[in-house]
Each structure stands twice: as structure tokens, then as C-alpha cells.
Amino acid sequence: MSLYQLSKLLYVLNRDDAAKTLFKSDPTGLTQQFALSEEECKAVLDHDVGLLYVLGVNGQILMHFAALCGVAWPDYLQAMRDGVTRYGPVRAGLYAMTTGADEKVAGV
């Protein structure tokens, strides 16, 4: 578990155009710059927003990763709900889910 490293990757990706370019051309090369567990690495490479959420990535970083991957807002929220259903409750951090998996608070 290296949540800091995983979060750092997403922080860098959100703010650095070179990292965005690398993420498209050689995503594995980008992940190798950070000390990630196998599960974390796979979550990034698979664009698995639900797993990243469960691993504890802060939503303020995660929502921009989702946008970068072309995930629309309603689908981003649903991916997190699906992640909790599939992988279990959020394991770390402040961004736990307190609503139900079928609950759409704002209608999306």
C-alpha cells in the first residue's frame, strides 16, 4: 500500500502536460516513476476509478483523473459507487462513501 505515491502520480498527472502526454503514449512508463503496488498500478492503467476511490485517493485529485480519462460526471459518481460494491468500503483517507450504493443524492 503506497497511497501517497499513488496520489502523487495523480497530482502530477493533473498539473503537468508532459505527464499527460506520457500517460497517453507510455502509461506504464509513467507508473514506473512511482513506487506503486501491483494493485495500484493496475488501477491506474485500467482507468479503474472505482478501485482508485476505494484505495483512498482524494476525490479532489480523482475527479480530474476521471475527466482526463473521458469519464462524464454522472459516470464518475457511479464508478465510485460500483467500486465500493465490487471492492468494499474505502480503505483510507477522508473521502469515504456515506450514502447508499443506489442513492443518487443530486439526481446523478
Binding site: S7, N58, I61, L77, Y95, V105, A106
Partner: protein, 272 residues
């Protein structure tokens, strides 16, 4: 000259990113309130506007997280988010390096702030700025309180920062306006997005409008997290604004808008 104006407003990215998903009546009412705030800022003719926000890992991260930061750059850019996602075009914002250095120097007399000559604005600053300064005319000094990465800045230190902002603003010949941005209760960027504790928000605003220091600083982070979500930690910026203004507040707009994820708020405070 001095601090000439103080206000608070919401900065949620949904305000622009999800504008088309909102009830037009809600959206238009909020935008009208922000237009009203824009006119009030213009009327005081500020030489610079300090925008005090709770940024979200755009510039400051857990590799080197400052409790407070103030900008003294020549220019700033933003949004750091995808403009197509936030629905705000990129802009270059004029800074005030000389004024910023004088303000920072005075603030450092009492609060150990970090300063930054580079700053990419995220939605915490650019959403309000987009609505308050559509023509990109304002001179901006960004400021930040760590409301995102624990251990967070204690509330009483946010108050001390507000006092330092006031003292610094009063020490320079320029006319300074202060706009603190944030949210009250909210659970942003989670599946809970849209959950709002309106009663908690109204109680917080009662404390803020009365400028009741003791009650504003009475929250523990555990209580805030439980009752107001991780987004509730952003009350720090509003608390600092109260410390800077010293007067009583006037609420100009308040409406919970779930698709925007917060109780959208616009309020001003008398400079006393």
C-alpha cells in the same frame, strides 16, 4: 490605504462545470447574486483583491504542504483543470509582486506563511473570479489555507491569518479587497456529492454573520467531518475573512443547490 471590502462566496466547480444540469432558476439566482457582488467590488475600486481559497492539490501537495500561502507573482494562470470540464477558458491573471511582498512581509510578523511566485489557479479561485471578473480586469493576490491534506491548519490559526491579512492590508497605501471562497457543508467529489446539511450551514452562517469568534472556533475537525463532510473543513477561509473584517456580516444569497454540491452562499462583512 486599508482593507476596504470583505466578502465570502462559494467556489464549487459544479457552479460552472454543471451549470447546464442545474435548475435554471437556481443557477440564475446564484449568478445574479455573484453579479451583485461584482458590482460591489467594482464600487470600492480596489487596487488589488486578495482571493483566499482552499485549493485542492493544484499547487500544494503533501510533499511540502504549507498551512498558509500567499502569492506575490507577476501573473497567474488558470484554470488548472481542463477548461472544457470546468467550462471556464484559460486566462492569465495580473498579480502584484511589489504589493504582495509588502503584504507578505507584514503577515510574517505574526504568521509563518509560505509565499509563492508561481500559482496555477484551480476552481477555488477561478470559479469565483470567472463570475466576479469576467473581463479579467482585477489585480489578484491569491492566498490559501490548507483545508484538504491533514493535519489541517487549526481554526484558531486561520483566525490569526485573517488578523494578519487585516494588519497587512492596513499597512499599505493601496485599497485592498478580500474575497474568501469555499464551501460550508459538502461531500465533494465523492458518491455523496450533493449531500448538504442545511441546518449546519445556517448555524455556521449565524456564527459568521455575528462574527462570533468563540463559536466560530468551537468546531472540532471530528465534528465537522461528521456533520459537514470533508468539504466542511473549508470553513477556515470564511473564518479568516471574519477575523480580517472584524464587523458584522450581511447574507446576500443562500440556497442549497445539490447539483453544485453546496449551499451556495454570498455574504459581505462590514470592515470595522
Amino acid at each position: 490605504m486599508s482593507l476596504v471590502f470583505a466578502a465570502i462566496c462559494s467556489h464549487a466547480p459544479g457552479i460552472t462545470a454543471r451549470a447546464e444540469m442545474a435548475d435554471p432558476a437556481d443557477r440564475d439566482a446564484l449568478y445574479a447574486a455573484m453579479a451583485g457582488l461584482r458590482e460591489q467590488i467594482e464600487a470600492v475600486r480596489p487596487d488589488a483583491v486578495i482571493i483566499l481559497a482552499a485549493e485542492h492539490f493544484a499547487n500544494f501537495f503533501m510533499n511540502n504542504m504549507p498551512a498558509f500561502a500567499v502569492g506575490m507573482g507577476e501573473t497567474y494562470s488558470g484554470p488548472i483543470e481542463d477548461p472544457n470540464w470546468l467550462k471556464i477558458p484559460k486566462r492569465e491573471v495580473r498579480g502584484a509582486p511589489d504589493l504582495g511582498k509588502r503584504l507578505v512581509s507584514e503577515m510574517l510578523q505574526t504568521v509563518d506563511i509560505a509565499y509563492a511566485e508561481e500559482w496555477q489557479f484551480d476552481h477555488g479561485i477561478i470559479v469565483p473570479l470567472h463570475l466576479l471578473d469576467p473581463e479579467n480586469q482585477l489585480t489578484v493576490i491569491p492566498a490559501n489555507i490548507n483545508c484538504q491534506g491533514p493535519p489541517l491548519t487549526p481554526l484558531y490559526r486561520a483566525w490569526a491569518f485573517g488578523e494578519a491579512i487585516r494588519r497587512a492590508a492596513d499597512s499599505v497605501p493601496e485599497r485592498i479587497a478580500l474575497i474568501a471562497t469555499g464551501g460550508i457543508s459538502h461531500w465533494p467529489a465523492t458518491p455523496d456529492s450533493g449531500k448538504i446539511n442545511e441546518a449546519w450551514d445556517r448555524d455556521f452562517l449565524d456564527r459568521w454573520l455575528a462574527n462570533d469568534r468563540e463559536r466560530l472556533l468551537a468546531y472540532t475537525d471530528e465534528e465537522t467531518y461528521r456533520d459537514a463532510g470533508q468539504g466542511g473543513f473549508e470553513i477556515r477561509t470564511f473564518i479568516a475573512a471574519a477575523a480580517a473584517a472584524r464587523g458584522k456580516g450581511t447574507l446576500q444569497f443562500f440556497r442549497p443547490i445539490p447539483i453544485f454540491a453546496v449551499s451556495c452562499t454570498v455574504a459581505i462583512m462590514e470592515i470595522a
